[in-house]
């Protein structure tokens, strides 16, 4: 039983070993010539603009809020999906009602304009 986890263990050991090994090796043998440009934060090769500690727009929070709620509701679909066959038509209708309630919430959010970015 535990044998079947051996490949995963091997993979973990290799992954951890490689990343630590590479980091340590470059630290040991690498040449260090720090300069202002090199020490600046790396932004895809562009010159950095402003501070990284900028405020996020409040819109991110609203999207995060909506995401949390709708994301977690999916949790209730897992047990239903597992037991789908034995629950039969009744379970299907119940889940339909559940999703309908979520849709109502979605329509409300849409109408209230919480999904509009601008």
């Amino acid at each position: 039983m535990l044998d079947s986890y051996l490949p995963i263990l091997t993979l973990i050991i290799i992954a951890v070993g490689f990343s630590f090994g590479a980091a340590i090796l470059s630290r040991l043998v690498g040449e260090k010539k720090p300069s202002t440009v090199k020490l600046a934060p790396y932004e895809c090769g562009m010159p950095p603009v402003g501070s990284a500690r900028e405020r996020f727009s409040i819109k991110f929070y609203i999207i995060a809020m909506l995401f949390i709620v709708f994301d977690i509701e999916v949790v209730f679909m897992y047990p239903w999906a597992v037991m789908f066959k034995s629950l039969g038509l009744f379970g299907f209708i119940e889940m339909g009602v559940f999703i309908l309630i979520l849709l109502v919430g979605y329509a409300y959010v849409w109408k209230k304009g919480a999904l509009e970015w601008e």
């Binding site: 119940e94 309630i101 109502v104 329509a107 409300y108 109408k111 209230k112």
Partner: protein
């Protein structure tokens, strides 16, 4: 869940689906009055259906009871929601708060409270508790432009969420000790356990008591109460002070009445909690100069007295507690409705300076306030007296003499600050300013509350007879 289950759940379904429909309607039509009227009708329909439709099954899906006790509280909380919408009507129109949101949240809260009072399963208990707590978080901060309200909301949220954590962990420990989440069953099995498992069960009970202590503000977990009451708008405070606490007490009484005396090992702890709460409330109120904060401390004292009734764990004690809950709900709601009805562009009258001499400007509503305050104090011939008398009588019969003495001491101290407000209202003051005239809705609520206080004070037997019949 079958059709008969759904029929048994009809009042809750009416409240919840009515709330959802009003929420959706509110997103499209912003006219507040039709939405409010729809909400009041929905709440009354919920109460009617709970009273008239006989449930075909005694228990809904093994989670909630559909017995007389559950129905009684369903009616009470539905009516409370209707009253809350009536007192809140002017507030949401004047402050331009989304009517659809306010109405639906109040109705959801009522559904949650009704479910909590009828929970027979720990899952049901947990969901129901969270349903109305979440609604209250939003309702308290519903006036987004008011810094005090946002602060009160955040404070209640942080403490409420901690209480939720304790509640859930307590339930987990009870599950660990008893292996069941079905309520009478789990508690019965806990009684039979010995040794380590019993210790877990006791710890679980202790954690649930902490959570309950936060929710109904027992000392030493009561510190949020005055702040949140002051910050929240008066119509919401009225609901928060009555419904959210009453429903928790109702669930506790229902649970203990179903499963017999189970608190034997916790008696001392609950005794201490009750004594501390009564004294903390009474002494805390003495130093207040703000009516809303004073009412908050008064509610703390009342919760302590309620706990005495629960502690007795006799049918007498449970009946007295249930009676007390009803009386407290009616009285406290009325007191906050008076504050809400006086509110105008300047806000609500809160500090004692604002109340001084108001009795001459608004004699009827201040008279009602005095009646309600005297009932809260427990003056004979008011409902409050009968309620206190019943609880203390039950305590005497169960042999809690010390607690009885502390209760009477707290009542005497309470008299002092209630009388102080009464005298303040009728102190001659030339500078007393006029406040709002109040709407028809608000006057209706005040009329209902004050007459209920008088009727229950003069004929308490009516309600007591009913309560004795429905107690599980």
């Amino acid at each position: 869940m079958s059709l008969s289950d759904l029929l048994a759940m009809l009042p809750i379904l009416i409240l919840a689906f009515g709330a959802t429909a009003i929420l959706m309607a509110g997103a499209w039509y912003r006219e507040p009055l039709p939405l409010l009227a729809g909400g009041i009708v929905t709440a009354l329909l919920g109460a009617l259906s709970a009273g008239l439709v006989t449930p075909p099954v005694p228990e809904i899906a093994g989670l909630f009871s559909a017995g007389g006790y559950a129905r009684f509280y369903t009616i009470l909380w539905s009516l409370l929601a209707a009253a809350g919408l009536m007192t809140g009507s002017r507030y949401i129109i004047e402050k331009r708060i989304g009517a659809g949101e306010y109405v639906s949240l109040v109705l959801y809260a009522a559904a949650g409270m009704a479910l909590l009072s009828s929970a027979t399963h720990l899952v049901g208990l947990f969901i129901a508790l969270e349903t109305f707590t979440l609604a209250f978080y939003i309702l308290i901060a519903s006036n987004r432009n008011c810094a005090l309200a946002a602060e009160a909301g955040l404070k209640y949220l942080l403490l409420g969420a901690v209480a939720t954590g304790f509640m859930a962990f307590g339930i987990a420990l009870i599950y660990a000790a008893s292996g069941s989440l079905v309520l009478p069953d789990a508690v019965m099995r806990l009684k039979a356990e010995t040794g380590e498992l019993q210790a877990w069960g006791l710890l679980g009970w202790g954690m649930i008591l902490i959570a309950v202590g936060f929710k109904i503000s027992l000392a030493p977990f009561h510190l949020w109460t005055p702040d949140v009451y002051q910050g929240a708008p008066a119509p919401v405070t009225g609901l928060l002070a009555t419904g959210s606490k009453g429903a928790v007490v109702a669930a506790l009484v229902g649970l203990l009445a179903m499963s017999g005396p189970v608190w034997n090992d916790l008696t001392d702890l609950v005794w201490l909690l009750a004594a501390l709460t009564m004294l903390a409330g009474a002494f805390g109120a003495l130093g207040q100069s703000n009516l809303k904060r004073l009412l908050a401390y008064s509610s703390v004292t009342h919760m302590g007295t309620l706990l005495v009734g629960v502690l007795c764990q006799t049918s007498e004690g449970f009946a007295a507690t249930t009676f007390y809950v009803v009386v407290y709900v009616v009285t406290s709601l009325g007191a906050f409705a008076v504050i809400a009805s006086l509110a105008d562009g300047r806000g609500e009258p809160m500090t004692f300076d604002q109340w001084r001499g108001l009795g001459y400007r608004h004699p009827v509503r201040c008279g009602v306030l005095v009646l309600l305050l005297l009932s809260l104090a427990g003056l004979p011939a008011t409902a409050g007296f009968m309620a206190k008398f019943a609880v203390f009588h039950a305590a005497l019969q169960s042999g809690y003499i010390g607690l009885l003495m502390i209760g009477i001491l707290a009542s005497v101290i309470s008299f002092a600050f209630y009388l102080r407000v009464t005298m303040l209202l009728f102190q001659p003051d030339e500078k007393a300013s006029s406040w709002h005239q109040g709407s028809v809705f608000e006057h209706t609520v005040l009329a209902v509350c004050s007459s209920a206080v008088l009727v229950l004070g003069l004929f308490p037997g009516l309600l007591f007879g009913l309560i004795r019949q429905i107690l599980p």
